[in-house]
């Protein structure tokens, strides 16, 4: 069912060498590599089908428009949204969150109100709310982390007070791997009439997403973390919510009628897509989603869980290595520290072995503060990684200890 060698052939970059060693790409939580199908569809667009969309009556513009709008439908189906009108193309998860902060929450938020986030959020799900809260003299409330990297959900009933205007939380932590029980969190928030934004930047590539079942008001993700191009991402919002929101940016394509006295805005989602959008990005993303669907997200999840388990056992056997983030429900992310060796040195040595990992705070400084560490080394695996690669990483970590010990 999961023919790993054939799958790897779809990703040409996986065949290259780094410093004379076969590349072991284990930085998938930062960005994923692209299959040939995605590379080809972008090339095809520019060689056969490209023109601006929603404009011309000419054939190429119609083709391009059809590809772009089909991409929206592919996204809709992938996350099981009710309508493709609920899919707004943006630059990435970061822009999606900023859009919600500015077009949805800003007009609602009053002095003394609260925005509830968690201690494990990526900076992109902290800073937009912090900036907004500062402007409106509202405050951020934080769901705390437990020692094992899970959220302390016992605090939730108390935190979900009458002043909370939005709960914005990640479905999967990029630095700890923790997969949060968001269904329960959404239920509790909704019981208090509090809308919920889910940051799906990590979860989208690893677990099946059904926004109707989740019932969240907002779901955001980036294309480049699910084998698609950079510069494209998605804001999903319930249609009713979206219709009530004010435009994000002004410009072409987001209007129906313009005079210098008054402008009538276009319907959703176009109201939020001012200017010529990232056409190649949307089409590339749709191809990536098709690719993932063909493998099956559930199959991917199963394979990655096995790999995670294997890697965890291998890494735990290395003396002095401590895994940061040991939640019961985790995606294929392993953050670790080694006694006496700084992650940055580990990163350099692994790189010389052809192993690409992320070292640093992973844009989650509050998480690092919580564990009282400056940084970690993060191995993030996905469906194109193999057990042999995990062995190569383990071997490289042992070399680090040899060299620095």
């Amino acid at each position: 069912m999961f023919d790993i060698q054939n799958i790897r052939k779809d990703f040409p970059i996986l065949g290259i060498e780094i410093h004379g060693k076969p590349l072991v790409y284990a930085d998938n939580a930062a960005s994923t590599q692209k299959p040939q199908q995605v590379i080809d569809v972008i090339s095809d667009l520019y060689t056969k089908n490209y023109a601006n969309i929603h404009r011309g009556v000419h054939q190429l513009s119609q083709r391009s428009t059809a590809l772009y709008e089909n991409a929206r439908e592919t996204v809709q189906k992938f996350i099981n949204a009710e309508s493709s009108q609920e899919i707004v193309f943006v630059r990435g998860a970061t822009e999606a969150i900023n859009l919600v902060a500015s077009s949805y929450l800003d007009p609602l938020l009053e002095q003394g109100d609260e925005i509830l986030i968690s201690e494990m959020e990526h900076h992109s799900n902290i800073i937009p709310w912090q900036m907004l809260a500062e402007r409106k003299r509202a405050s951020l409330k934080i769901i705390p982390l437990l020692e094992n990297g899970e959220l302390d959900l016992e605090t939730l009933p108390e935190l979900l007070g009458p002043k909370v205007k939005l709960l914005a939380v990640t479905q999967m932590s990029n630095s700890l791997g923790t997969i949060n029980d968001v269904s329960s969190m959404i239920r509790q928030a909704h019981a208090m009439n509090i809308p919920v934004l889910l940051d799906g930047a990590q979860s989208i590539a690893h677990i099946p997403i059904d926004v109707q079942a989740l019932a969240c008001e907002f779901f955001v993700f980036s294309g480049h973390k699910i084998y698609g191009p950079t510069g494209i991402g998605v804001l999903y919002a319930k249609k009713k919510v979206l219709e009530g929101m004010r435009p994000y940016q002004g410009g072409g394509d987001m209007i129906l009628d313009v005079s210098f006295e008054k402008t009538e805005f276009n319907e959703v989602p176009y109201k939020f897509e001012a200017g010529t959008p990232n056409i190649e990005g949307a089409i590339g993303l749709a191809t990536a989603l098709d690719y993932v669907s063909e493998l099956g997200v559930a199959n991917i999840d199963k394979y990655e869980q096995k790999l995670l388990k294997y890697a965890t056992v291998q890494f735990e056997a290395i003396q002095g290595l401590r895994i940061i983030g040991t939640a019961a429900c985790k995606g294929s992310v392993i953050s670790f520290v080694i006694e006496g060796i700084h992650p940055h040195d580990i990163g350099t040595i692994l790189d010389m072995e052809g192993v690409a990992v992320r070292t640093g705070h992973h844009c989650t400084q509050p998480v690092m503060d919580c564990y009282n560490i400056p940084a970690t080394t993060r191995v993030s695996l996905c469906f194109y990684n193999t057990k042999a690669e995990v062995d190569a990483i383990t071997g490289a970590i042992k070399k680090v200890k040899e060299l620095m010990g």
């Binding site: 700084h342 940055h344 350099t348 400056p374 940084a375 060299l403």
Partner: protein
């Protein structure tokens, strides 16, 4: 592995394990904080300058082997030198880690600091090696701001 051995020489590993002048100077004339946001290296540098001479110099903080050993070796190197000379050493050190050509005389002038020549093969680590030096320049200019390594 040879470039790695070149980078992580025994002197560097030793100064990482046992950094010299690793303490706060309660009495100091100059002080600055340094921060490398890329990897979270943080250091605090203290100097006691009298009559234009660096009488004492020390640091505290946490960072990778390159930044810690660089700070340690820098403090050893600069103790007893004049403030007027530091800019020149800063420039020479910077040239060394970025792979610019140095005259034999200038290289010799850097003494033990020459072990950081291996850094030039690792451009992303230049910031680590030069953090202490940027912090030093900030301290001597007595600016209150945190030094950032931007080169």
């Amino acid at each position: 592995m040879s470039e790695l051995r070149e980078l992580y020489q025994e002197v560097i590993l030793d100064h990482n394990r046992n950094p010299r002048n690793f303490r706060k100077l309660e009495l100091h004339s100059h002080h600055a904080n340094g921060h490398n946001p890329l990897c979270g290296d943080k250091l605090e540098l203290f100097l006691e300058v009298k009559d234009g001479m660096i009488k004492d110099i020390a640091f505290i903080g946490s960072g990778c082997a390159i930044s810690t050993s660089s700070a340690s070796l820098m403090t050893q190197f600069l103790k007893g030198k004049s403030v007027a000379e530091t800019r020149r050493y800063f420039d020479h050190f910077h040239d060394l880690v970025t792979g610019q050509e140095l005259t034999a005389e200038d290289l010799e002038g850097l003494g033990k600091l020459a072990v950081f020549a291996g850094v030039q093969e690792f451009p992303v680590r230049v910031k680590c090696a030069s953090l202490a030096w940027h912090t030093l320049m900030n301290a001597l200019e007595s600016t209150a701001k945190t030094a950032q390594t931007e080169d």
